[in-house]
Amino acid sequence: MSSADRPRPLPPAEEPSLADRMATVDFDVGARPHITVDTRVCRSCTTKPCVTACPADLFSPTADGGVLFNYEHCFECGTCYLVCNEAGAISWGYPDGGRGVVFRKG
């Protein structure tokens, strides 16, 4: 191990991970998924921009080329349907009244 001769400098103070940041957000999760993703459509999508653009990181590519989506910690922003280039893959709506994200310091 060549790097052992000269230990790496201490890393700068790390930014909190996205999971840490998401843990600060209050979600009153409703029973009904307000966004659904048709993963059959996603299999034909090569770029999958939703995976990187979603600020809550709710879209995960699966091994079979599809996309796994989790509605529970959704900001309800709308980025996913705007970047989705496969028409109809994402059906987007708001959660039931009173449910979903609760911003306190927005």
Binding site: P7, L10, D26, D28, A31, R104
Partner: protein, 294 residues
């Protein structure tokens, strides 16, 4: 039959200062815990069932707290319950008997004007309290108590078209279920998984919007047990993702096995000033300190 539901809106994500352990809640974000919501829903179902049987059950939702609790009470009102708030300041005193006082105040409200509820429902596992409130309430009212129920159904025929008692189901360990026969009057607490709460119709929500909620004052507290000291609240634990990589590598990284480390360097007996210089030079060499100036 009078069914009362005790609601305890609470902030599910309070801000806990990591240094002082001061807990700050957001009054607007206070909402019903899943247990409270299930208690309200079960009360509504019981009332629906009794109404079908020709009885005329009454429903009363009570909360002890600041005006911020009115939003939750209005939703209950829109679902057809009468509502009453026992005024309490928003700050929770660090008081060993806080729940006992709350039970005292609630019991007074529940039995106003010689009224007596036949059933008092609470949510099990409140977000911001130890959860002894139902027991205190049962004690104060002299009612039977059955805590941590999943479901509740009327059984037998009692006076006035109401049931003689209730049958409750409770979860035990190792997957067992316990069916309890609960006589009336009783205080029951309900788990959050018991029933998905219904939503109030729009017309009723409109009618309840902005309506004043009746308020009663809490009686002055007479503490018997005094809190000598209170330990700090702790930030809530947070699930962290499983670590990356395979176990073998992680153990190697954690223990430092197989890593080449520098042998201890002995620089011989040195004076304090030389020793400090040697240490600083070592730290600079390894980028832990900026390069020497000048």
């Amino acid at each position: 039959m009078l069914i009362s539901v005790v609601l305890a809106p609470a902030d599910p994500l309070p801000d806990v200062d990591p240094l002082t352990a001061e807990v700050r809640t957001d009054r607007r974000a206070c909402r019903l815990s899943p247990g409270d919501a299930a208690a309200l829903e079960l009360a509504l179902r019981l009332a629906d069932g009794l109404r079908e049987g020709g009885a005329a059950p009454r429903l009363l939702a009570v909360a002890a707290g600041p005006p911020g609790h009115d939003a939750a009470l209005r939703e209950a009102a829109a679902l057809g319950a009468g509502v009453l708030r026992v005024d309490r300041p928003p700050e929770r005193p660090e008081d060993a008997e806080y729940e006992a006082h709350t039970a005292e105040a609630l019991a007074g409200a529940l039995t106003r004007g010689g009224d007596r509820p036949d059933l008092v429902l609470c949510g099990a596992g409140p977000a911001d309290a130890p959860g002894a409130l139902p027991a205190f309430l049962a004690h104060r009212l002299g009612f039977a108590q059955a805590l941590g129920l999943l479901s509740l159904a009327p059984s037998g025929a009692g006076p006035g078209g109401g049931p003689a008692g209730l049958t409750g189901v409770r979860r035990l360990d190792r997957g067992r279920r316990e069916v309890l026969g609960v006589p009336l009057p009783a205080v029951c607490s309900v788990e959050g998984t018991g029933a998905e709460p219904r939503r109030a119709p729009l017309a009723a929500a409109l009618a309840a919007a902005g309506a004043p909620v009746p308020v009663v004052q809490a009686p002055a507290a007479r503490p018997r047990v005094r809190a000598v000291s209170v330990g700090p609240a702790r930030p809530r634990t947070r699930p962290v993702p499983p670590p990356q990589g395979d176990a073998h590598r992680r153990i190697l990284a954690l223990t430092g096995a197989l890593e080449r480390t520098e042998r201890p360097t002995v620089l011989g007996p040195l004076g304090a000033a030389e020793a400090a210089d040697a240490l600083l030079a070592f730290l600079r060499r390894h980028d832990h300190l900026p390069e020497a100036e000048g």
